[in-house]
Amino acid sequence: MKKKPVEIRWHGRGGQGAKTACLLLADAAFSSGKYVQGFPEYGPERMGAPITAYNRISDERCTVHSNIYHPDYVVVVDETLLASVDVTHGLSEQGAIIINTSRSPDEVRPLLGGYAGRVCTIDARRISEETLGRNFPNTPMLAAAVKVSGVVEPGRFVADMEASFRHKFSHKPQVIDGNMNALTKSMQEVKVG
């Protein structure tokens, strides 16, 4: 019997980079030798509208091409979505939800409709502003998702991301350190409740 892939659902708002983070996670998992899927669900696209993106990560090619209804992990890039989207819908109680917020896991758990699994929080906005000087929550959210889910070995992840940033930002090396700091800081600071 095939091992079930790890399934991750991303919630964000158009323009925040949830799709980019999803594709970066697919990249990171690919670099560590996994089979990956990273795909967005498109609706009427506009800035600020809720968007969903998905990852499947496994040791063999996963052929299922439907959306994900029973994720192992959910990542919420914008905490205002907690008021309007049922972000824990179908989420495994053995898994976890990772939310971009300055609040603690205990403070946000009451907003999650009785979800009994792990609730993790990370202040991606602050980390991003401190390390990159602007609110780009992508990198810290990706790092927190990797740390909590363990889909990629953290040491390997950090090394791969550094190589990828060096390649991607070869024309502006000043942002490489900022992104690497955002990454490591997020992995240290993510709170698991």
Binding site: M1, K2, L23, A26, D27, F30, Y35, V36, Q37, G38, F39, P40, E41, Y42, R61, C62, T63, V64, H65, S66, N67, Y69
Partner: protein, 393 residues
Amino acid sequence: MAKRDRLSGNEAVAYAMRQIDPDVMGAFPITPSTEIPQYFAQYVADGLVHTEYVTVESEHSSMSTCIGAAAAGARAVTATSSCGLALMWELLYVAASYRLPVTLACVNRALTGPININNDHSDSMGARDTGWIQIYAENNQEAYDNYLQAMPIGENPAVRLPVMVCQDGFITSHAVENIELCEDDEVKAFVGEYQPEQYLLKHENPLAVGPYGVSPYYMEAKVGQAEAMKTAKAVILEIGRRFGEMTGRFYGFFESYRLEDAEAAVVLIGSSAGTARACVDELRAQGKRVGMLKLRVFRPFPFEELAAALSHCRAVAILDKCESFSAAGGPLGAEVRAALYGCRERPLAVNYVYGLGGRDFRVEDCTQIFRALEECIRTGETGAPYRHIGQRG
């Protein structure tokens, strides 16, 4: 030596185009195919290809560009989706009847209305009788592999027909998955140079392209096209075999999955076949004799081969990602039922229309279809032969 990478379906097709380095691209953007001309434009700007990249004002013009270029003896490509393909309509017939082997990357999307950007097969299925060869992909790998095979098929002197290489919009075009890519020199050798025997600008043998076809000539031209489509079958198999020798990935008209001893089977096209494959595995693990047939080549339609592959089943469900408003089913349903008519023993057949405008097709939907087939087998009755699945209410 194969290179392992991860690319979306659109990236994979643009990558294949770069490796082929066609002479002319007629470029006009439309969701979800836009990324193909977009990525390709980068290759042009970076000097990685020598293609004449013609930005035009509509899809009618992008296909006209390809027709003009191909008539002049050039290798011409374009990409489109949905209403873009619809706007090419009259030119699709022109390309096919002039016997110009243009290659079109069709990223399948629903047609209006209501207006919708998501996937179904209404666009290319509507163009099924235009005289184009149509090849469909399940995933990014097949979109890439099929694209590399399109020109050796269409440009074969015994075929000389345009080829539409289809993949599912968003589900395949925008999903990043693992892929194996060929080396550039392997692709160049496999696809070869395009050397048409006749073309407009061949001064030693000038040629008229597109003259009026009076009644004493018109039908001969059409029979010529029909014969070319029959001939294409052998060429498609030969190219699929040669591609397999190069890559280890062999292609035919369709893929049979756990079908040999299956009592119940689904027949479908595109990305949903991957989902059906997972469903088949689940049900097989419960001891159920189920299988799948994924159709790859819709034009020419492999009537005899498909009938032979399905005739031993007791019940089959044919899944159309397209509504044809015949009040009796979809285009794939009609063809498969026609194919089965010639069998002495044939399975019960039901036709489902599913997945319109991006409606998700889940493993559970496929399980539900297999349950219905089980009921057909138990009762010996087809029940309603034309059904929809996945809609609310």
